[in-house]
């Protein structure tokens, strides 16, 4: 039972990610906000796929739906899909150099953005500027090396395998 307490860093990192998602930004900056929860989830699926997998990714997506006020299940579906790919190929992705990982993260983030875009289109909330809509994926890719190193140091300090 005690060993599970070592994993407190995982929920703590998601709490930080959720708070960053809610942080008030000026209106012009809001479309550029990176998908913090997705980035943190991709890291944990790559690092600890047996502990944090597709199921927990789906649950985190549900949390994002409540936090963002979107349709319940919208981000959950997106997170489940990227959790699937991250878990399926985690052995290969983990040994890639950071830059190449960043490109893969870009692809995963774009996949999630597209899924959310489809659902938004069905409910009538399609964005006007598609280029601006995918900007967060680019910013997420640029932030990936920092997030990866940060969470890896945290994980190593807690000696989570």
């Amino acid at each position: 039972m005690n060993s599970w307490l070592r994993y407190w860093v995982i929920p703590a990192s998601f709490v930080m990610a959720l708070m960053l998602t809610m942080l008030p930004l000026p209106a012009w900056a809001q479309p550029y906000r990176p998908d913090w929860v997705a980035l943190v989830a991709i890291y944990w699926v790559l690092a600890l796929p047996r502990v944090f997998g597709i199921g927990l990714s789906w649950c985190c997506g549900l949390l994002v739906d409540v936090v963002q006020g979107t349709l319940l299940g919208q981000h959950a579906l997106g997170m489940a899909v990227i959790g699937y790919f991250a878990q399926r190929f985690h052995q290969r992705i983990r040994v890639y150099p950071l830059a190449q990982q960043g490109l893969l993260v870009l692809v995963l983030l774009c996949v999630k953005l597209t899924i959310v875009l489809w659902i938004n289109g069905i409910t009538g909330h399609a964005p006007d500027n598609l280029l601006l809509y995918y900007a967060p994926a680019l910013i997420g890719m640029l932030l990936w090396p920092w997030i990866f190193t940060l969470l890896r140091d945290v994980r190593r300090r807690q000696k989570l395998r």
Binding site: M22, P24, G69, L72, Q74, Y84, Q87
Partner: protein, 283 residues
Amino acid sequence: MQPLFQQSPGITLRLILLGALSVSVMTLDHRFDHLRLVREQIGLVIYPLQILVDMPARLGTWGATALSSRTTLLRENERLRSDRTLMQAQLQKMVALETENTRLRDLLGSSSKVANSVLVAELLAVDLDPYRQQVLINKGARHAVYAGQPVIDASGVMGQIIHAGTFTSTALLISDPSHALPVQVDRTGLRTIVTGTGSPDRLELRFIPATADIEVNDAVFTSGLGGRFPPNYPVAVVSSVERRQGQAFARVYATPTARLDRSREVLLVWHQPESVPASSESE
């Protein structure tokens, strides 16, 4: 020893199951109200985080007031005092008009209007999805807030509550494309519906025939039809009318009078529709 390439069994199956679950959850949330409890429960867990995120903005406002010079505060006090005297004078006139209105309605045999009770609330400094026009309000079900309740600010109608959590509620603004509001043009009495376009300074008036009498700067008020919003609250001012050759309908856009992207304080209105209430669908 563990195999070198260990694959979690049934991961594809889990994806399919979660995918199907997501789709059903989305359908239930979009079309029906069954998931309200789920959202409320999760909202309770999220609530402390929202308060944490809102705190810096709140501390900032408090700090600015606490550190204001005495002169500034005295001046603001003076201004508020004179504003209040002015408004009390205007209120006296309104009370007289209301009494006259009730008297006339009695004479005509119609039912009298009931004054709406209101509650002042504040927006939490928390950002929601940038592609939906929603805001978070710091009053919830424990303050008797309900889903469908109208939200107005000092200058006009802002929207309606769509989720009433325990401590906070989410309001949909009239600028959201999925929000439709029954309105009436003040000058001509023309009844129509106003929907959002996704931008906070542009609403669209729908179903206006090309031959209708409508022009720029016409004031638009709630009509009270649908039973959800009380009548005669200001909504918008017509900003452009476009009549094209061969088109049966005109494209009419309006600017909302409420300060949708700037108001910090809002009013929640309890509205009882007078006659038989219309259907309880929100759009």
